[in-house]
């Protein structure tokens, strides 16, 4: 069993499911011969052939639209958008069609599709290549939104997404595509699509995050420990539906909660988490719910992106503030 990166885990999950289900079709721009711009699909063309691994013409709405027709025919399409910044022409199909097909046919037709896209900043990419707009999609009824943050979770969650009978937006945090290597057994075992992951247990404060911000949050927790603050870290992972049971249990235990995300703050997923904690767990709290997030600005070009992205220093400082409440 080899140590693999998140990129390789995505590839391993795709290859596993393609080998076990001939209905799985993988397509997108430059994903076949070139193996994708991040190499997530490398080798699939050679293994599974051009009927199942396809380079498409350059049209994002088309990629999403055909996914729906394929899925309704009981294929298992896995469509890749090269970057999340280019997914917007496809939103009509994801929002108006994929997420509604089951409901408007009362289950006669359905859309078991996966829309994959790398997302987030921090890799010095050009304009439009670095945004985190998961909350736009989390607002869509009928759609699931999943963000893995480790090779093992990428493998297990992508398998679950492909097997899920409804459409899933699968966002891959490209800043941590090659951050860590992990042993990921290629055993075809999926992870649940409605469970948070507790990455670190703690007593004093719950740090809630997902995607690439896991990195800064883990760093912050280690430093907080040196200051005598024991932080629990929750990787939300399934942005929709969110496992609020686990979140509320943790907040009940720690009494403090800090939500960290890379996306802009206003109407970010953090707002939904904060509101739900306020509705169902206000009495657990010793301190206000706080958020450390990207700003409500346009994602700066890459020379300034580090000033936009939440830092571990800011997470530490905010956590310390919250500890001052008795």
């Amino acid at each position: 069993m080899a140590n693999i990166t998140l990129v390789e885990a995505v590839n391993q999950a795709l290859a596993y499911e393609m080998a076990h289900d001939e209905n799985v079709i993988v397509f997108g721009q430059d994903i076949a011969k070139n193996g994708g711009v991040f190499r997530t699909t490398v080798g699939l063309l050679e293994k599974f052939g051009p009927k199942r691994v396809l380079d498409t013409p350059l049209a994002e709405s088309m990629i999403a639209g055909i996914t729906i027709g394929m899925a309704a025919q009981k294929l298992k399409p896995v469509a890749e958008f090269q970057f999340m910044g280019f997914i917007y022409p496809a939103v009509d199909h994801i929002l108006n069609q994929a997420s509604r097909l089951r409901n408007r046919t009362r289950g006669r037709l359905s859309c078991p599709a996966v829309f994959r896209a790398p997302y987030g900043g921090g890799i010095h990419a050009p304009e439009h290549h670095s945004e985190s707009t998961e909350s736009l999609f989390a607002h869509i009824p009928g759609l699931r939104v999943v963000i893995p943050s480790s090779p093992a979770r990428a493998y297990g969650l992508l398998l679950a997404a492909i097997r899920n009978p409804d459409p899933v937006l699968f966002l891959e945090p490209k800043r941590i595509y090659r951050w860590v290597k992990q042993e990921v057994p290629d055993d075809g075992r999926a992870l649940p699509l409605d469970k948070c992951f507790i990455l670190r247990e703690g007593r004093d404060i719950t740090l809630i995050t997902w995607g690439a911000m896991i990195k800064e949050t883990l760093e912050a927790a280690e430093q907080l420990e040196q200051h005598g603050i024991s932080a629990e870290i929750i990787d939300v992972a399934t942005i929709k539906p969110i496992d609020f049971d686990t979140i509320l249990q943790s907040v009940e235990k720690t009494g403090r909660c800090l939500i960290i995300h890379e996306a802009a703050r206003h109407c970010g997923v953090g707002a939904e988490i904060a509101a739900t904690i306020a509705e169902h767990g206000l009495m657990f709290l010793h301190a206000p719910i706080k958020r450390v997030t990207g700003y409500d600005t346009i994602m700066p070009y890459y020379k300034m992106e580090k000033y936009y992205l939440p830092s571990s220093a800011k997470i530490i400082a905010t956590a310390k503030q919250l500890m001052e409440f008795a």
Partner: protein
């Protein structure tokens, strides 16, 4: 050694196809793809569609139906498409395809339910095996859904075609171009039928595009494009047969432009007198498809006043059954809005479902 290609020249033309003019005279011999028996069947279906249309408008005017789009004057397209398709082909409709629904066996009461604000109207509860898509309201999206299904047929080596309909206004949409481009590149078993009724709500074709025909848009995608007289059911049927057989035998997509005229409002929420020149509008009635087909059938002793009378009596009874079924349909469950959203409602939303039940359950 392969050399780069730096020059390309090509020439193109668009054919207009008609078999029967508006006097009901053949302009060329009846094609072998159609016989008199079929023509009578098509006439009856078109007549039923027209009566259904009138009935639906009346239901809307009397507050028993929501906004409804008429297909008056465009029945030949829908009927030809519906008749030419096989059960195993899959249909991706827009919203003026009542005649096709009728011939595909979609319950007509469902069409009323749909425009009456009931999801079961787009569900086809009576035929759960149907793979046809429901009406697509966001314009041109359905072209890509059809292309996706066409890919599935190709992938599985099935001799099936995906058929999609759209108005001429819809061919200005990016999704239309993206679909025909992909269909060409991947040689998909796809048939695109454009109902060119010359009006996209209030926008005339002359303001929609500089193209002289819609069929020529196929040229840019490298696929076959044909224009037919959309009021000539024989022509539409003939070209459909050709396109369907071509698709099913792996020879790729076809774009069919069926030229007609919208001798009705866009929907019941519209008043076309505000923008359609009235002389043009009234003149268009002389070219409508039912009148000419009846003339043809009568000239060939295939139809009579008596047959017409009998048909109308039968159709009236059929419509009564349809309308009664629609009006007497028991109300759906309130919680259906949750219960059909996902295969299994995620736990996170159980609370909201209970909230709904607590208020109205």
């Amino acid at each position: 050694m392969s050399k780069p290609h730096l020059t390309t020249t090509a020439g193109f033309s668009i054919q207009h196809l008609q078999f029967m003019d508006h006097h009901g005279e053949l302009t060329q011999a009846l094609p072998s793809t159609i016989n008199h028996e079929t023509l009578i069947k098509l006439y009856e279906a078109m007549a039923l569609t027209r009566l259904f249309d009138k009935k639906a408008i009346n239901l809307q005017r009397t507050g028993q139906l929501g906004t409804y789009p008429s297909c008056h004057g465009q029945e030949a397209i829908g009927a030809a498409v519906g008749h030419a398709m096989q059960a195993s082909d899959v249909f991706f409709p827009y919203y003026r395809d009542h005649a096709t629904f009728l011939l595909r066996g979609t319950p007509m009461s469902d069409i009323l339910s749909y425009w009456g604000g009931d999801e079961r109207g787009s569900a086809n509860m009576e035929n759960r095996a149907s793979e046809d898509f429901p009406i697509c309201v966001p314009i041109a999206d359905q072209c890509l859904h059809a292309a996706g299904a066409a890919f599935a047929f190709q992938y599985r080596n099935q001799a099936r075609a995906a058929v999609v309909t759209i108005g001429e206004g819809g061919t200005s949409e990016g999704d239309f171009y993206e679909a025909i481009n992909l269909a060409g590149a991947w040689k998909l078993p796809l048939v695109l039928v454009i109902n060119n009724n010359q009006w996209a709500i209030s926008t005339p074709i002359s303001e929609q595009t500089a193209c002289k025909t819609i069929a020529q848009k196929a040229i840019a995608a490298g696929i076959e494009g044909v224009q037919v007289d959309g009021n000539d059911v024989i022509a539409v049927h003939h070209v459909m047969q050709h396109a369907l057989e071509k698709a099913r035998s792996g020879k790729g997509p076809t774009l069919i432009e069926a030229l007609t005229y919208r001798i009705c409002d866009h929907t019941t929420a519209d008043d076309a007198r505000r923008y359609i020149p009235q002389d043009e509008y009234h003149a268009a009635f002389e070219f409508e498809p039912l009148k000419r087909l009846r003339r043809y059938l009568e000239k060939n002793n295939l139809w009579s006043e008596e047959k017409e009378k009998n048909m109308l009596t039968q159709h009236a009874a059929t419509l009564d059954t349809i309308v009664t079924k629609f009006l007497e349909r028991p109300k759906a469950q309130i919680t259906d809005m949750f219960d059909y959203l996902y295969a299994e409602l995620p736990k996170q939303f159980h609370f909201q479902r209970r909230e709904l039940e607590a208020e109205y359950g």
